[in-house]
C-alpha cells in the first residue's frame, strides 16, 4: 500500500510537467429529473447537463461531470473534489454564506405539495422533503412534521406507501411524476415560490471562474437560448426570463 501511495505520488509529481489545460469538474446529484439525472446509458443527462455543456463551450472551458450525493454536495465542493455545483440548487441566504452563486439560470421556481388525495393535511400532517433543500427548511418552519430523505425519489416513495401525508418539492420535478401516476398522485394547494432561482455554486475564492460562468449565462439569456432550453426540458408553461 505504502509503495502504491508513493508510486501514485511520484506519478503525480512527474505528471505535473505536462500540466496543460485545467478541467472544470462539474458536480451534480444525478437524481433530480428533469434538472439532472443519470440516463439509461449511465451518463449525466437533463436540463443542467445540456446547459452546463453549453456554458462551458461559451466560456471556452473543458468540463467533466461528476456525481455525488446531495447531502455532502457543498462540503465536497469546499474540499475541492469538484469545482462547481450544478444540481438544481436554489440561491438562498443560508447557502450564500458558505459558497458563492452565479446569477440564476432559472427564474424563481414554484414548489408544490403532492399527495394521494386532495384533502391531505399539509398544514399539520407529515410532509416529506429532501434533506438540506429550501423545501425542507420551509416545512421545518411551518407547523407540519418534517420527514427528510436523502434522495428526491425516496420522498415520493414515502407518500406512495403512506409514510408521509404529502411531499413538498420543486414543481418541475413533481409534475412529470404526477402526470404519469395514473391519478394516484395529485397536486394539493397552490404553488409556493421559494428561493431566488437556481444558480451554479462555486467556492467563494473562485471569483475568476464565477465571472466566466456569469458571462456565459448572460450571453445565453440575451440570445434566448436559455429560454429555449427551459421550454425544452420543463414544458411550454414553464417560467422563462
Amino acid at each position: 500500500m505504502k509503495k502504491l501511495m508513493l508510486a501514485t505520488a511520484l506519478m503525480a509529481l512527474t505528471a505535473g510537467g505536462a500540466f496543460a489545460q485545467q478541467t472544470v469538474r462539474m458536480g451534480t446529484e444525478g437524481a433530480y429529473p428533469p434538472y439532472n439525472f443519470i440516463n439509461d446509458s449511465g451518463e449525466v443527462d437533463g436540463f443542467e447537463r445540456e446547459l452546463g455543456d453549453e456554458l462551458c463551450k461559451r466560456a471556452e472551458l473543458t468540463c467533466e461531470w461528476v456525481t455525488t450525493d446531495w447531502d455532502s454536495i457543498i462540503p465536497n465542493l469546499q474540499s475541492g473534489n469538484y469545482d462547481t455545483i450544478i444540481a438544481g440548487m436554489n440561491i438562498n441566504e443560508e447557502r450564500s454564506k458558505v459558497i458563492s452563486f452565479t446569477q440564476n439560470y432559472t427564474p424563481p421556481a414554484p414548489s408544490a405539495y403532492v399527495a394521494l388525495s386532495e384533502d391531505a393535511d399539509i398544514e399539520g400532517g407529515v410532509i416529506a422533503a429532501q434533506v438540506n433543500t429550501i423545501q425542507s427548511g420551509y416545512i421545518a418552519a411551518s407547523g407540519a412534521t418534517l420527514l427528510e430523505f436523502a434522495t428526491p425519489d425516496e420522498t415520493v416513495a414515502a407518500v406512495r406507501n403512506g409514510e408521509a401525508d404529502a411531499v413538498f418539492a420543486d414543481k418541475d420535478y413533481l409534475v412529470p411524476i404526477v402526470n404519469e401516476s395514473n391519478g394516484e398522485l395529485v397536486i394539493v394547494s397552490d404553488d409556493v415560490t421559494l428561493g431566488a432561482g437556481v444558480g451554479m455554486g462555486l467556492r467563494q475564492s473562485d471569483t475568476e471562474l464565477r465571472g466566466k460562468f456569469d458571462a456565459a449565462i448572460t450571453s445565453m439569456k440575451e440570445d434566448g437560448s436559455l429560454n429555449a432550453l427551459i421550454i425544452k426540458w420543463f414544458g411550454e408553461d414553464a417560467d422563462v426570463f
Binding site: A12, A31, D40, D69, Q78, S205
Partner: protein, 293 residues
Amino acid sequence: MFEVCADPKSLEGLTWLSCYLTSGKHLNMYWAFGTVLLLLAVTAPIAMAFGFLGALAARSQRFVLRMIGKGYTGMVRGVPDIVFFLFFVIALDQGIEYIMHLIRCPDWTDPVRNGLEFRVCPQAKVPLGSAPQTVHQFYGFMLAVLTFALVFGAFAANVLFGAMQAVPRAQLETAEAYGLNPGQVFRRVLVPQMWVYALPGLSNLWLILIKATPLLFLLGVQDIVYWARELGGAKTQAFDYPHPDWRLYYFLALLVFYLAFTRVSEIVLNRIAARLSKGQATAAGEAMRKAGI
C-alpha cells in the same frame, strides 16, 4: 447494446426486459459487483498485514512499539466505522494535497484554509484536476482500500494477538529446549500454530468486511447498493425505460448476492479450519488424529 434496443419505448415483454437489463446503467451495476469483489480481494491481505504488524508491535518487548500497537488497536477499534470513513479519508486526502502543495507551489500566497474551504494550488491537486474521471475513481478506490485495511487491520491485530497468546506455552518451551532462537521459535512454531486459534475471529472479520462494503459510497465509489437504489427508483418518461418503484427487487437481488457470497465464504473457511487443525495440539486436532483423518 443490441440493435433491437434502439427504440426502448416500443418494446414489450421479454425483449424489453432483456434490453432493460443490458442498458449502460445496468452494465455499470454489473461492473460495481466486480469493484466490490476486487475491493475485498485487495483489502483482505493488506488488512491482514496491518493486523500482523499490529499484533507484533503489541507483543513487543519495547515499550514504544508496544504502545504503538496497543494504541492502534485501541483507538481504531473504538471509533465507529462511519466516523472513520468520514473523517480519516478527508484528512488523508487533504494531507496528501497539502504536502504536494508545499512541494509544488512554494510561492503560493493565498491561504490554504479559508473558512470552510480547502484550496491548494491547481498543480497540487491529487489527482490533478485535468486527469480523466477514471483516475479520480481509481484514487477514490485506493483511499477506500487503505481505510478499510486500517480499520479491519486493527480488529485483525487483536485477533492475531489473542491467537499468539493462545498457542500452548509447552510448544514454545519444547522448541526452545531444542535450541531454537527466539526468531526461529516465532517463525517455525508460534506462527504456524496460531492460525487455528485466529481463524474463528478472522472469519468473523471477513464476513463483517463483506457487509461493510456499502460504505464505499461514502467515499464516492459507486458500489452495488448505490446502483440498486439508483436503478430501482421510480423512473418517469424522461428515461428510456420508465418504470415504477422497483427498489424492492433490486435490494432482493443484493440480498441474494450477499447471502450467496457469505455462504461460499463459510464453506471455504470451514475447509481451511479443517486443514489447519490437522496435527495441531488442539481438541479439534486431537479429534482428527483419533478419527484417523
